[in-house]
């Protein structure tokens, strides 16, 4: 994909050039190391208030004699360096970022403020629980909110990202099967799935069995029924799927799996299409992960950090990673530090299931699924009971949000069936604070409206482009729409070219060439954060590019034309990897 431009070659400035090869210095910021000059300082330590020590004497042979070659710069240079670099990035703050499956929504600024409140940001993970009640209340409230949003019974916030959540979720699946006497061998994964799904299954010791999509891009029920057997541990399903389609046969999918004792794992990457409208726990999902950095507005930050909480049904709760948050009814009594009852009706366990939805929940009651513990029926009976729609989170005072349950929150490590620990400490706390701030800002009505707007936006784009771009699956779209480059490819223009040309129109490209079941895919997810004006601009840009493909294909093929650098030579980067700066040999 390189050198496909007719622009004449300009002599390379070379890696150590620091002169102005661009119109302005801001377009040519050297590496920190190239800007460094010995003796410059950007720091000042306070005077040492204890006797100084001689590191060489104290450390002997363990003393570092050759310092690391870190740059030496002043504060203003550092500010300018990173500020200039930042201007080379596209960002949600600049405009629409329609990366399908990535949910690039607005990142509210109050989230950043509250995540930096001193008492929260400076809490050490090993401080005594008694000094961490504030942060644990945040964990507790977020857990309760996410449980009601997903319709699940128990949750862990530990996983650091979506793929880490998948890992945790599949470990739960494995541990449960193991407890039934056979961990089973295979995980079924649709051909439309994210690459993390098969990679996760492999790490958890499973072989991956591919499940071919049907003509609508969904799960082929007959194929599923044929492929599920007593060695199938689970199906990893993304719903809505990566082509943005809700699996309308979802209950049958769950039935087929459960009838053979297999579980249904849901990749929650596309949860932004469901929040407040439908709950995975109600349509047969046994375990799932959420991406707080997608659905719940925590920033992507150029690739992370993320957060991937895993929610599950009650029968998987004993296997959750340690430690698990518990509320002790009487903190002075050591007996109460024990693990909470598995029975989700105890009302003491943090993250206990919320009051029941008014309609019949999962289809699993009539599954004849022998291996489910009886607690499942018990819980179902509970759900069939009374429910009043209430303004506050379950078990919370609606005004103070404090749990009505007395007692302190603490960490429970005594969980003999746990899959173990999946990371040090308890999770990406900073992300929990942001996600909870987002939920509080929206409330139940805002969360529902958010979902509706996300789906409305995707359908508006679909409507605006379906006459010019091939729509391989005509099934109704949820939060994203997937076109193919079939018509443009006939002119020699691929999805990747259209994506690069979109940059010249001021937009970030959509997701290119994914999902794999669509040849030459253009996967577009606008999210709810786009105004009608921005959507119209995007549609106009895509329509204009379609026209360019017909009239001036070279213009598209050599795009982008407006960026600081043109298309980069990826082959060269991979063939002779230069992964770090090194000083020029004198």
């Amino acid at each position: 994909m390189t050198n496909d431009t007719t622009i004449p070659q300009i002599p390379a400035p070379g890696p150590t050039t620091t002169g102005k090869v661009r119109p302005h210095q801001t377009q040519n910021e050297a590496l920190l190391f190239e800007k460094s000059s010995p003796g410059k300082r950007a720091y000042k330590l306070p005077p040492l208030d204890v006797p100084p020590v001689d590191p060489a004497t104290l450390l002997g042979s363990e003393h570092r004699k050759v310092p690391g070659q870190l740059p030496e710069l002043s504060e203003i240079e550092i500010i300018r360096h990173f500020t200039r670099l930042s201007t080379w990035n596209y960002a949600i703050d600049l405009g629409m970022y329609p990366l399908g499956s990535c949910t690039m929504k607005y990142n509210p600024r109050v989230n950043e403020l509250v995540a930096r409140i001193e008492g929260l940001a400076e809490a050490h993970p090993y401080r005594p629980d008694s000094l961490a009640q504030g942060i644990l209340e945040v964990y507790d409230l977020l857990q309760r909110c996410l449980l009601d949003i997903t319709g699940m019974d128990a949750i862990t916030l530990q996983p650091a990202a979506g793929a880490h959540g998948e890992f945790t979720g599949i470990l739960l699946v494995r541990a449960w099967h193991q407890s039934q006497g056979n961990p089973r061998r295979r995980i079924l994964i649709p051909d439309s799935a994210h690459g993390t799904n098969p990679a996760t299954a492999a790490i958890c010791g499973y072989t991956v069995e591919n499940l071919k999509s049907n003509a609508e891009g969904g799960i082929d029920l007959e194929a599923l029924a044929r492929q599920v057997d007593e060695e199938t541990a689970a199906l990893m399903l993304t719903n809505p799927s990566t082509i943005g389609v809700f699996e309308s046969q979802i209950h049958k999918i769950a039935d087929i799996l459960h009838a053979r004792g297999a579980l249904l794992y849901m990749d929650g990457a596309n949860m932004n299409a469901l929040v407040g409208k439908v709950r995975p726990g109600d349509f047969g999902v046994d375990v799932m992960h959420l991406n707080l950095h997608k659905t719940f507005s925590t920033p992507h930050g150029g690739g992370g950090p993320g957060s991937g909480p895993v929610a599950c049904k009650a029968f998987l709760e004993p296997f959750l990673p340690i430690p698990v948050l518990v509320r002790n009814s009487a903190p002075s009594d050591p007996q109460n530090l024990r693990a909470p009852s598995l029975h989700v009706t105890s009302g003491e366990r943090v993250g206990a299931p919320p009051a029941s939805p008014p309609h019949p929940p999962s289809v699993r009651t009539d599954l004849g699924f022998p291996s489910f513990p009886s607690v499942f029926e018990q819980e179902t009976a509970e759900r069939a009971g009374s429910h009043d729609s209430q303004p506050g989170a379950p078990g919370l005072d609606s005004e103070t949000w404090e749990s009505k349950a007395p007692g302190q929150l603490s960490w429970d490590y005594d969980r003999p069936q746990s899959v173990g620990r999946v990371r040090a400490f308890y999770g990406n706390t900073g992300m929990f604070i942001r996600a909870l701030a987002y939920i509080l800002a929206n409330g139940p009505d805002g969360l529902r409206q958010t979902t509706e707007d996300a789906v409305l936006n995707a359908n508006y784009i679909r409507h605006g482009l379906e006459d010019l771009y091939e729509l391989p699956y005509k099934t109704p779209s949820m939060h994203e729409v997937v076109f193919s480059d079939k018509r443009q490819a006939a002119k020699g223009i691929k999805t990747g070219d259209i994506a690069k040309r979109l940059i010249d129109y001021g937009f970030h490209p959509y997701t290119v060439s994914f999902p794999l079941i669509v040849h030459g895919a253009l996967m577009i997810e606008p999210t709810e954060s786009e105004s009608l004006e921005e959507l119209d601009l995007f549609i106009a840009a895509m329509r204009s590019i379609a026209k360019e493909v017909e009239e001036t294909p070279e213009l598209v093929k050599s795009a982008p034309h407006s960026t600081r650098v043109s298309r980069l030579d990826e082959v060269q980067a991979a063939r002779k990897p230069v992964l770090r700066w090194r000083p020029t040999e004198e």
Binding site: A441, P444, I503, L532
Partner: protein
């Protein structure tokens, strides 16, 4: 709904344009019996001011006015102001993984600078763009060694952070990857080299140690490397306290270094988000997990940066990938990069020197109190030390808390053979006054009958 940029009239217009009678039409595909026909049971919509009030109250409920001697894998260092100024620029904060290189050169160049700094500090050839944290990084490093060597056993030092070891156990459980634990010397607090030598065999893929180790003691990396390499095993060195590299000799003999970079300007934040990173010798590059940024040129010959060697990764290789990692800790790695730039070559050394001095003073002062002594006294340390007291840690901890001090972590939870031992940490932000105050509390220990 202040985050939603549409008026009711605009929604109506859009629905009309696409030919939908109402928004419900767009959700008609969801079977009716599953549709949620009630409000979610979450708190009502709150004003921005209320949200701030709520989290401020939570912050106050977390006591803040305590002096703290906690370390053990999470370290409190001063965070220069410009870190948060810069990482909150929307162009960094609200950008995605830099797959579209032409419009993410800022993130890409910053990661390239991060990779360079980590390689420089650790003495390795290459470093990746980050891992979730030090614990998962260590587990991934072991799995990397398995791929490199084709062997399936690990030997792990008991002086590695106990939670890192637990994470490794979780990761290794389903990989057919048993590991054995090497004891530490009772006097030295370092890996027992004889025991290590006995455990490393021709089947060992990797030896995993941590330095400075969980007791704050610096391991004898050259000696450990010799034992590992003699049997063809790789040496993985986990570094939980990155600031130590300002003054402690880097683990040059290691094959892989897994580091927790939280100390480089990342808030404690009750344990996350932190910033793991894996660095290695160049020959193991193609087995590394995680993203890598490489230098290249554009079609005009200008220098630019791209994500590279992606054929290792899950989105290309799926179940054959080196790891399932996708999202990493990019913005936290940026914090670390800015931190390291602020301190620079001299500053990191000076900073590490202050840490060394504070801990040396604290250890000496505490050891001078009746009934207290520093364990592993003769071994080289950075800024943590194990204190043994006649008083039980629970009672000591309570007396310290009464004096508004959070003392060292009790070690018996992980090391039952050390019942009256606590792990103390003194970074540059701990003051002499705080150390002296804690010493006074120590000296007032109730006399054992």
């Amino acid at each position: 709904m202040r985050y939603l940029p549409k008026s009711p009239a605009e929604r109506e217009k859009m629905l009309a344009d696409i030919g939908a009678a109402s928004i419900d039409d767009l959700f008609a595909v969801i079977p009716a019996e599953y549709r949620l026909d009630r409000d979610l049971a979450v708190p009502r919509q709150h004003a921005e001011s209320e949200i701030i009030d709520y989290f401020r109250a939570a912050g106050r409920k977390n006591a803040t006015n305590y002096a703290s001697f906690l370390g053990a894998g999470a370290y409190r260092h001063y965070r220069p102001v410009i870190i948060d100024s810069l990482v909150q620029r929307g162009e960094f904060l609200t950008s995605y993984t830099p797959y579209q290189a032409e419009i993410t050169q800022g993130t890409l160049q910053a990661i390239f600078e991060f990779q360079t700094m980590i390689a420089e500090l650790t003495g390795m050839d290459v470093a990746n763009a980050s891992m979730y944290d030090g614990s998962t990084g260590a587990a991934e490093a072991v799995m990397m060694a398995v791929r490199v060597t084709g062997r399936h056993k690990a030997v792990v030092a008991s002086t590695v952070h106990p939670e890192y070891r637990e994470v490794l156990t979780t990761y290794a459980r389903h990989q057919g990857l048993p590991s054995s634990l090497v004891p530490y010397g009772q006097e030295t607090g370092r890996v027992n080299l004889e025991a290590l030598e006995a455990q490393v065999t021709e089947e060992t893929a990797a030896v995993l140690v941590q330095s400075p180790n969980f007791f704050g003691v610096i391991e004898d990396i050259p000696a450990i490397a010799q034992i590992a390499h003699a049997k063809g095993a790789l040496l993985i060195v986990s570094i939980a306290e990155a600031v130590s590299l300002g003054v402690v000799r880097p683990p040059l003999e290691a094959d892989i270094v897994s580091m927790e970079a939280q100390s480089f300007g990342v808030a404690l934040s009750y344990g996350g988000p932190f910033c793991g990173v894996i660095a290695a010798k160049e020959q193991y590059l193609r087995q590394m997990p995680g993203r890598l940024v490489g230098q290249t040129t554009d079609s005009n010959g200008y220098r630019g940066f791209v994500l590279t060697l992606a054929t290792r990764e899950q989105h290309i290789r799926r179940e054959k990938a080196t790891s399932n990692i996708c999202t990493n800790q990019a913005l936290v790695a940026l914090m670390a990069t800015i931190f390291l730039t602020v301190y620079g070559k001299e500053g990191i050394r000076e900073l590490a020197g202050h840490n060394l001095a504070k801990a040396a003073y604290a250890a000496k002062t505490f050891a001078a109190q009746p009934g207290a002594k520093v364990r592993f006294q003769a071994s080289p340390r950075f800024h943590e030390f194990v204190l043994e007291t006649q008083e039980a840690p629970e009672s000591l901890s309570q007396r310290l808390l009464d004096g508004k001090i959070v003392g060292g972590v009790a070690l018996s939870r992980w090391y039952p053979e050390l019942p009256n031992a606590t792990l103390w940490c003194a970074t540059e932000v701990v003051t002499r006054e705080q150390i002296d105050t804690a010493a006074k509390v120590l000296s007032a220990a109730p006399v054992e009958a």
